[in-house]
Homo-oligomer: 269 residues x 2
């Protein structure tokens, strides 16, 4: 392979497997090239990705060292993403009876959720999270993408305990959104005591279900190192969890214009 | 940007958004280069991706024409993936009481599901599907990845009708796995009458839930153009749906060795 081909190949391989470490030797063998050549290729790949504001190639030296791609998103693209999401959410046809909002098509828009996941990955890259944790159902697509970008497992908390989950731990919690007590259940084998979790979900009102996730993880002595949400309502102001990062804030519906009041969190990062 | 940088950038941009069409003009503007140069860059990018067996760059001419990346997976990597999945599934600790198998960590392993999704994308690329459809919960990660690779929306059928789904259509179906009648529900606005759906799910025994998905989609006059499953049991031999593509076949547990009998479908493609 020629130099230009090697650089493209390295960009492709590293960015297809974000946060996965490759030794220099892997590339030397792959391309039949000397370490010095591969180092120059990596420098070219690094420069390009930084110029495009798509992320970083990080090199760690020593035994077990290697190179890995750390995905990111530029401030500009992030703001465009926030505005795009606000626009979509404001579409009048999304407003359902009872003040509910139809968001399933957005939350299961894989391409869009991949972008959102880049924002969460940038935000939570250095938290040392061992898992991404979400609760079924609408946060699963974005949580899957975050899990891929950070290269850590995804744990999905279920609403009911399933036989196929093996032995489980369940809790009941009060959900303000549905105004009733709900159940959540996690497979015992899904998490390791003493590990760290990053919670990702699509929507939060008072925080009942996120608090439930935190509570159930506490049973396993798991530390919450971050909580990322796509939409958080401004009311109630007081949430049941102390810290979280919202992409967007939702302030209800303007009673005159019937327009949704939703705006970007400009302090996300 | 230099030629080598442009080629890497094009590889990155196209493969980050598979099946999304870009006009030549977009790249000309982005890099401040002439059409003839960009055409050469694209040829270099095309050669590289084909050499790496990662997919194809397709050019369509005429108004609305452009270039797009069609992701694929080589026969060799696909076979390795199948063997890897079989190995993982054979781990003795997965065997639960009642003949159930713990697979949640596999089905929510985003990196692994991205690979599986490449196999489904290769298989179903030319079906003309308008949506990927799955039913909650364990197929959502792989379905999300397929939806991203084919650049079509994902529709997730729910077990219960939720207020936030708006007006829904529900059916009851018999699930052999749980040996009881279950319900599934789809938002009316989620699918367009007369469109085409690709069903993706993690597991099929007799086919009750996949048949349910097909039935509920038929209510909307939606045609099923493909059905992809990760694991299909060999028993019962007669399934309730006529056609499907399984990555792996599961033939139960060897009563002597206590080992799971699972093997790759060598006729997948």
């Amino acid at each position: 392979m020629k130099r230009s081909e090697r650089v493209s190949a390295i960009v492709k391989i590293l960015s297809d497997s974000p946060n996965q470490s490759y030794s220099l030797g892997t590339f030397c063998q792959m391309f039949g090239a000397a370490k010095s050549s591969i180092s120059e290729d990596l420098q070219a790949a690094r420069n390009l990705l930084e110029k495009m504001e798509l992320g970083y190639i990080e090199t760690t030296s020593g035994a077990g060292g290697g190179v890995r791609f750390i995905p990111s998103i530029s401030d500009k693209v992030f703001l465009e993403l926030q505005m795009d999401l606000c626009e979509k959410l404001k579409e009048p046809a999304r407003q359902l009876a009872g003040g509910f909002l139809y968001t399933s098509d957005i939350m299961f828009n894989a391409r869009l959720m991949k972008k959102v996941a880049h924002a969460f990955a940038r935000k939570f890259q250095d938290t040392g999270a061992d898992y991404v944790v979400t609760i079924e159902t609408k946060g699963i697509a974005v949580a899957t993408m975050v899990s891929d970008l950070l290269n850590i497992p995804l744990v999905v908390i279920r609403r009911e305990s399933k036989i196929s989950e093996g032995s489980t731990v369940s809790i009941n919690y009060f959900s303000g959104s549905s105004d009733r007590v709900q159940k959540m259940s996690i497979a015992k084998r899904a998490v390791e005591p003493g590990s760290r979790a990053l919670i990702i979900d699509d929507f939060m009102r008072a925080g009942g279900s996120v608090k439930g996730i935190a509570d159930i993880l506490t049973e396993f002595d798991v530390e919450i190192v971050g909580t990322g949400l796509i939409i958080v309502t401004t009311e109630p102001e007081r949430k049941t969890i102390p810290e979280y990062s919202a992409l967007l804030y939702l302030a209800g519906i303007d009673p005159e214009k019937k327009e949704l009041k939703v705006f970007p969190n400009i302090q996300f990062f």
